[in-house]
């Protein structure tokens, strides 16, 4: 019996986002090895991997911000729109008003911070649903982008182009080109920014009081409040950080593409949410980690890369692939959450198997033994559950008498042994 309990505990641990992260890591490695074997040429070069980073540095930053918000139990779908607004404003600032690079960076931070402040205030202190507010924020940002400047254009400013085209060589890694010359693999500045941001957030979420408060609030608002955590402030802070990161992400995106356009970062919010979910962030809040999110972003990017390498480069395949992946990971997550609820409290709605087993075994071996057998802990003292149980027992009796007669002896055997 003891062994069974330990086993149960391990299963509960599975629900933690680390397992989802590990699944993602495994998926990433398997996919990459698969790609190496199938499309040998491209994927064997280290540069291909670093290109994944180069192209997705902005998305990584956005996903990290999304992770923070989602851990705290909210969601922010304005990040793509804010990024587009940032690219457009910076482009106009540098090209039409002769602004400097530093000025543009500050402008980007300012825009992100402003969105974070307003959205955070509305969500945290006025208690409006985050989805509605950030949806409005997204449309507002996209609309504003068109108002700032209609036509997309490339930035010609020399200073900016110089900084934008700076390449940082990666030591010891590279490939030999046709002429037999060794070329180092390179990364862009944006990748450094993304990695620094991720490191800072990892530190924040893991080792600071504020970071732990995000998890507490996302996990259970009521308990967090009782623990003396300032819930409103924490929610506000999570949106502020996400807004700020949307600003930084927008600037990194701007450095990558070098143009201002309303079509920039299209669908970035969906990719960011997908990355965070694939990386093991719990939609309901309370679980998630930055490493997983980074892996999620890379997995997503790798999928797109493979899809286009396989010759399915029609635009629609990308959308469908992402959606299918998102769907699979969401369902896996939902099943895992259901499994945990089932183990904590079998009478929660939607955990029919546990109710079924519990009620069957209880009749022969008594309630306490049945609990152990089904690996469940019951909240005997809560009256609503008791009422609820009565109803469910009744329903199960009618429907599954036959099934019960088969499983019954098996459980009796288990108990006696």
């Amino acid at each position: 019996m003891k062994i069974k309990r330990i086993h149960k505990k391990r299963f509960c641990d599975l629900s933690d986002s680390t397992v989802l992260t590990m699944i993602t890591a495994a998926v990433f490695v398997i996919l990459y090895v698969f790609a190496m074997i199938v499309f040998q040429k491209g994927f064997l070069k280290p540069q291909t991997f670093f290109n994944l980073l180069n192209a997705n540095a902005a998305l990584m930053i956005l996903s990290c911000g999304m992770t923070v918000v989602m851990v705290a139990g909210g969601i922010d779908i304005s990040v793509g729109g804010v990024s587009a607004l940032v690219t457009m404003c910076c482009a106009v600032f540098i090209d039409h008003h002769g602004g400097s690079f530093t000025g543009a960076a500050l402008l980007a931070l300012g825009i992100g911070l402003a969105f974070g402040l307003v959205q955070g205030f509305l969500v945290a202190y006025l208690e409006i649903q985050p989805f509605i507010i950030t949806l409005a924020g997204m449309f507002f940002a996209r609309g504003m982008t068109t108002i700032v400047c209609e036509a997309p254009f490339n930035v010609q400013n020399e200073d900016f182009v110089r900084i934008r085209e700076t390449r940082i060589n990666v030591p010891f890694l590279g490939s030999v080109n046709k002429n037999g010359i060794f070329i180092n693999a390179y990364i862009e500045i944006g990748v450094i920014v993304a990695l620094l941001t991720a490191a800072a957030l990892f530190f924040l979420l893991k080792w600071t009081r504020t970071g732990r408060a995000f998890y507490a609030v996302g996990g259970n608002r009521q308990s967090a409040l009782m623990l003396g955590i300032n819930v409103k402030q924490t929610v506000f802070l999570s949106h502020l950080i996400c807004g700020l990161l949307a600003g930084i992400g927008g600037f990194v995106y701007f450095m990558h593409v070098g143009s201002g356009s309303a079509a920039n970062a299209a669908g970035a919010e969906m990719n960011a949410i997908a990355s965070a979910i694939i990386g093991g962030t719990n939609l309901m809040g309370g679980a998630g980690n930055i490493i997983g999110t980074l892996l999620g972003t890379l997995t997503l990017a790798l999928m797109q890369n493979i899809v286009s390498s396989a010759g399915l480069d029609q635009a629609w395949w990308t959308g469908i692939t992402i959606a299918v992946m998102l769907c699979i990971f969401l369902i896996v997550q939902s099943v895992l959450i259901a499994a945990v609820i089932l183990h904590r409290n079998p009478l929660t709605y939607g955990s029919m198997p546990a109710e079924f087993l519990y009620n069957l075994t209880k009749k022969s071996v008594g309630a306490s033994s049945a609990q152990v057998l089904c690996g469940v802990a019951l909240h005997e003292k809560s009256p609503p559950d008791r009422v609820h149980r009565q109803i469910i027992v009744y329903r199960i009796r009618g429907q599954t008498l036959f099934m019960g007669s088969i499983i019954y002896p098996v459980f009796c055997f288990f108990l006696s042994s």
Binding site: I75, L122, Y125, L126, E127, I128, Q129, F131, I132, I133, L135, A136, G137, M138, F139, F140, R142, G143, M144, T146, I147, E150, A262, G267, M270, I273, A274, L283, M284, Q314, A315, W316, W317, T318, G319, I320, I322, A323, V324, L326, C327, L330, I331, S334, V335, I337, A338, Y349, G350, P384, V387, H388, I391
Partner: protein, 363 residues
Amino acid sequence: MMAQDRSKRNFLSFFSGKQFLIPLAALLALVIFNLIADPEFFRVTLGRNSAGDPVLAGNLISILDNGSELAILAIGMTLVTAASGGQDISAGAVIAICGSALLRVLCGSDLTSGQIQSPIIVAFLVCCLVGMLCGAFNGALVAFFRIQPMVATLILFTAGRSIAAWINNNELPMVADSTFASFGGYIKGVPMPTPFFIALICFAAVWALLRFTSLGLYVQSVGISEKTSRLNGLDPRIVKVGVFVIMGLCCAVAALIKVSRLKTINYSIIAKDIEMDAILAVALGGNPLSGGKFRMSSSILGAYVIQFLTTTLYKFDVQSDALSAYKAAAVIILVVLSSPVVREKLMKLLRSLSEPETAGKQV
């Protein structure tokens, strides 16, 4: 709930409801604004369309015409919002899928000739089926996997337009059939645009559904408390899937109108941002976005008010891309005003203004 029951008994009494005042006030504000800016806005003339039939023309008619898809969507969105406490953001994408399927059946293998290859009713039924399937998919994710509605519908939002393009192999079929065109245009001899009548049929259908079945009661009880409805023998999962299927059906009808209007389809642009407008219509109708009680008539009026706003903005030469910024601002103001915290503070303020001495005692 009581108020809802009473309004069901007396069809006229829903005009007296408090909730109805919000969209009505917004409509009034827009009308007054337009009256001051340009009274010509309201002129309705009897002109002739390209086929030479006498038709009514004017901004008001175009609002009734173009607002029909939105109003039909608002029906589904109201039910989804009330039952699940979340919104369906895949409406536009599902319209694209339905429209694509409709054209696929209608044109068969021959995409360019413009001749229809199969009866319109068959194509429309397939279109409805596809819409209901999409709705059932969303509903299943929400009800059985307990994913937040907005995140669950995010999947179709991401993939929908891609799927739509895939159904027709990314080609753009053209339909040049006059019968098919009449769904989005005019029926011969009728001066009002057909979409308006289709919307009216939908309103009648949903009114009958709410009046003669207990759907409204079920939806509200699930939205207010899932657990309580279950204890009363009502399966919330069935109700949730049901409302999403109705939403899919609404999308299919909207797709018919949209495609018939355009006579072709553009996968990335068709019904773009319409989900935002539909959510806005529900919010404007005074329905709580967190689920529970709802008032269908109020949402429908809200949809037309939004179309009014859109037409007004177009009239002032606002770019169609920039439109979303103004609408988003309107949404934010509305949502802030309707948030419980702000409402409570406002009520307190009003009370202290009207009766200073009682308010002082209460504090």
